[in-house]
């Protein structure tokens, strides 16, 4: 991620603004971390320390929450996060093979970004579109339903052409 001082500082400012607007009580922790991850892409030790300070709680508590929930990541992710659903319906319809094909085509392990930082592949549990199984979600918006392994390269191409 682009953590140069200038952009980093700007992001911290945005985070502080969010905390100011929505409240800095300890129960806001999860919401604050969600916003932080949106801004920074992942939750580095610096970000966690910053949040702890702002909410006046121990860093250990922040770390405890970050590592408890699947949604939070302490490592950078790809620009395009490919979420392959491995809920039951997707599994019986062959979602596992779609998942493997993504890893194979990109030559990465699960949750690990590609060298160019463009993609990372994540297994998720049920996106709730079971009737379209198997389902793949790229980013937050782009749903693909009834995905077959041989559609994988086409999906990837669509995004690699858009580039970084």
């Amino acid at each position: 991620m682009s953590d140069t001082c200038a952009t980093g500082g700007k992001l911290f400012k945005e985070l502080d603004q969010f905390i100011e607007e929505s409240g800095s009580t300890p129960d806001r922790l999860i919401a604050v971390l969600q916003r932080a991850q949106e801004l920074f892409g992942y939750l580095s030790p610096e970000v966690q320390e910053h949040v702890a300070e702002k909410l006046k709680i121990p860093v250990s508590q922040v770390y405890g929450v970050v590592t408890f929930y699947n949604f939070f990541s302490t490592k950078p992710k790809g620009k395009y996060q490919i979420k392959v659903c491995l809920g039951t319906a997707c599994y019986v319809k062959g979602g596992d093979r779609v998942f493997e094909r993504f890893l194979e085509e990109l030559g990465v392990e699960a949750d690990e970004p590609t060298k160019d930082g463009l993609f990372s592949v994540h297994a998720v549990r049920c996106l709730g579109a079971c009737s379209m199984a198997p389902v793949v979600l790229v980013g937050e918006q782009d749903f693909y339903g009834k995905v077959k392994p041989d559609m994988v390269s086409k999906i990837l191409k669509h995004y690699s052409e858009r580039g970084a």
Binding site: P26, L33, F72, T88, C130, S131
Partner: protein, 599 residues
Amino acid sequence: MALTANTILICAGGACISSGEESVKQALEREISKYALQDVVRIVETGCMGACSLGPLMVIYPEGVFYQKLTPKAAQEIVEEHLLKGRVVEEYLYKGPTGEIVPQVAEKLPFFSRQVRIVTRNVGFIDPKNIEEYIARDGYFALAKVLREMTSEEVIEEVKKSGLRGRGGAGFPTGLKWELTRKGTSQKKFVVCNADEGDPGAFMDRSVLEGDPHTVLEAMIIAGYAIGANQGYIYVRAEYPLAIERLNTAISQAREYGFLGSNIMGTEFSFDIEIRIGAGAFVCGEETALIASIEGKRGQPRVKPPYPAERGVWDCSTLINNVETFANIPPIILKGADWFKSIGTENSPGTKVFALAGKIVNTGLVEVPMGITLKELLYEIGGGSSTGKPIKAVQTGGPSGGCIPAQYFDTPVDYDSLQKLGAIMGSGGMIVMDEDDCMVDVAKFFLEFTVDESCGKCTPCREGTRQMLRILEKITSGEGTEEDLYELKALGETIKDTALCGLGQTAPNPVLSTLEYYRDEYEMHVKEKRCPALKCKDLTRYVIDESKCVGCTACARVCPVNAISGEVRKAHVIDNEKCVRCGSCIEVCRFNAINKVSP
């Protein structure tokens, strides 16, 4: 006049097939091609239309004319009269149960006509972003009634009388929960909507939140009034961005119209709702874990009692119901408990929404009265198997539920009957499986899920499920022994008895139920090292049928590990030592020459 295109829906349900549907269909096709109507008339075979005793049945669209008791001769007449001349053939018209002619009765596919929609009454009909459309369909009238005419005791009494039980899984009586929370001793009280629909394969709550968010808000406000709370939280999972967006819109509209905020509808009562977004932890569907998560902590459950009704959010009395439970409340208030009790069964009144998925024709969301049999649900509404292979089992209740085998499909769907079979109603996901699904593999799939999602607080769940998974891995890779099956069962029962929360206690269900109903499959894996469904990779091999292979090299080119060799135009062979069983070769082979076998 141009010929309008017709579509003929012919019922291919079990009863119609046995009464000669196939010959009627052939007669139709013959007549249609005789008059060269192939391009303007389409024949579609559907699932059961429900009037089985009058079969074979068909409906001709666009008019929606329903014909009964068909024969090949009838088909011929109908093509000549109805399709060519546009005249309805009275003789075969559907007469209805009392014998009167019902000319246009088949407006609705069985998928729709068998449903009773209470929870999903507005889903798909109204614009969820427009509060006035909700009001047009009696929205917020239940709230008005409660605030104007009822005391909080009366509201609770009505809910108790309705017999409504929690739709989140366990089926606890809702009215009793409300009463216990009202009697809670804390000064402040809270209403929480559990929208953390984490069971894989369940999407009923998502659909309600996306399609009719106001019904949840209205019910929560009513609950607040009944138990004496002024603040509500909706805990919704982060995986549902659209539901969150629609809820946010709904909340701000409700505030604007004065249904949320202070002095609601000109009364003394004030109530507001805040959304809390989950962060991806299955265990947060458990109510004490959900409470911890709302407070911004790790979502770990704690021992009950004290129940949330006594000590919930910030140690205050808290009412937690799930989305579907809440969605039942406004109709119950408006139409009364007696109306509600007239639907469903005595011990499980009302309806249940199910998400049909997996290998079934009509995947989707259906709301049916409790007590309907699995057979009706899967075949008549769901349309049966989508793969052409018979349905082997249906999995209900997600990782807490079990697999119900086909021989029990006459079981009525209600809380108690399903529990007797070792499954649970759960939140309502139903995944249909056929003979290509290996039951040991399915059990392993759910155990992987549980191991991943175990919060780690109690030992039986944290360590026990891991050990069960290890045994299942051993069995699916061909290393299992008969001892392991015994071990698996003993371990499962121990976890059931000793885990801390509901999710831990039910985690062994997928294994225990498959062990009971599909023990032969487990034994084949263990004794014969064979997977009959050809699903377990270590127990299957890929072979090329020499007589079918033409040597096109497509498979060899696609194989990621170069396990396939052979000369062009000569039969190829697969080296099973190298093969990783990814299935790519089968996908590309156009000659069906590659087979999976299990020794």
